[in-house]
């Protein structure tokens, strides 16, 4: 197996792994620790990776398993005021209000683990239901259900019942003005 191919695969995956970890933890420092732990585990288990299969999905799976087993061990609530700082990273303020991102992070933390994970994989990371299901270790229908429920719960937590309530910002305006709009169908 070509080590350079795998190494490049890792490099390509790191930004998404960081984003995934950050979305789960709500804290960039912990997220980066999680990514490093994932890399260590991946290299340790590299012989079990089948070349030609989806490296990114494999890495995502290791990361989420590490995250969830850590949570089980520490039984710690996902709490973090400092996580708010992470949401300032590279998000264009004129497109998405800072308040929105903070609110979104806080609301996400209040979701059940499985719903949060499903929403992040499908809606945030843009994965297919099949890929998300493989990573989460559940059926495709379960993922769809978690996405729908998670999305509904999220808007309930944020007290938002219509798109207009998200507040004025360029990106939301663009969507509201579209007649159809892109919609991920369940």
């Amino acid at each position: 197996m070509s080590s350079d191919t795998v190494k490049q695969g890792f490099i390509d995956a790191i930004p998404n792994l960081r984003a995934f970890a950050m979305s789960l933890c709500g804290n960039l420092e912990r997220a980066d620790d999680l990514v490093q732990e994932t890399m260590l585990k991946a290299f340790k288990n590299i012989d079990s990776f089948e070349e030609g299969t989806n490296l990114k999905a494999w890495l995502f799976t290791i990361l989420r398993n590490t995250y969830f087993s850590e949570r089980r061990r520490t039984k710690r609530e996902v709490e973090d005021a400092d996580g708010i700082h992470a949401s300032r990273l590279a998000v264009h303020p004129e497109q998405h209000g800072h308040m929105d991102m903070c609110e979104l992070h806080d609301a996400l933390k209040q979701l059940k683990d499985d719903q949060r994970e499903a929403l992040i994989l499908v809606c945030a990371a843009g994965m297919s239901y099949e890929e998300a299901a493989a990573i989460s270790g559940c059926a495709v229908g379960t993922i769809k259900s978690r996405v729908n429920r998670g999305r509904a719960k999220l808007s309930e937590i944020m007290g938002i019942t219509s798109a207009e309530e998200f507040g004025p910002d360029a990106a939301t305006e663009a969507i509201l003005n579209e007649s159809g709009g892109y919609l991920r169908q369940a």
């Binding site: 590299i46 398993n65 998405h96 999305r151 219509s162 939301t172 509201l176």
Partner: protein, 92 residues
């Protein structure tokens, strides 16, 4: 609707999935384990209810949150770690 309980998952949504198992093997196992779910029938009712535009905007916000980190440059520490792990692997 009776939810078919995934035999591998525990209450908090985690899974005892073996870290060394590639996702495809898991997906294949999943197909053998789970009876065919009437996906459209069972879940159709759950897609209704949330305003379509609201769904879109929420998805958009989630994606923006994710992209904020995904588009950031890779910190040096990761590349250093990778090089270290890679050279350890090569020296085996």
């Amino acid at each position: 609707m009776t939810a078919v309980k995934n035999p591998r998952s525990s209450g908090d949504g985690s899974s005892r999935q073996d870290v060394s198992e590639p996702p495809q093997a898991v997906a294949d196992k999943e197909k053998r384990h789970m009876p065919t779910m009437g996906q459209t029938g069972e879940h159709a009712g759950e897609t209704a209810g949330l305003d379509a535009k609201l769904q879109t905007v929420i998805g958009h916000k989630l994606k923006a949150m994710f992209d904020g980190v995904a588009n950031a440059p890779i910190p040096e520490k990761f590349l250093e770690l990778l090089s270290k792990l890679d050279s350890q692997e090569k020296s085996k």
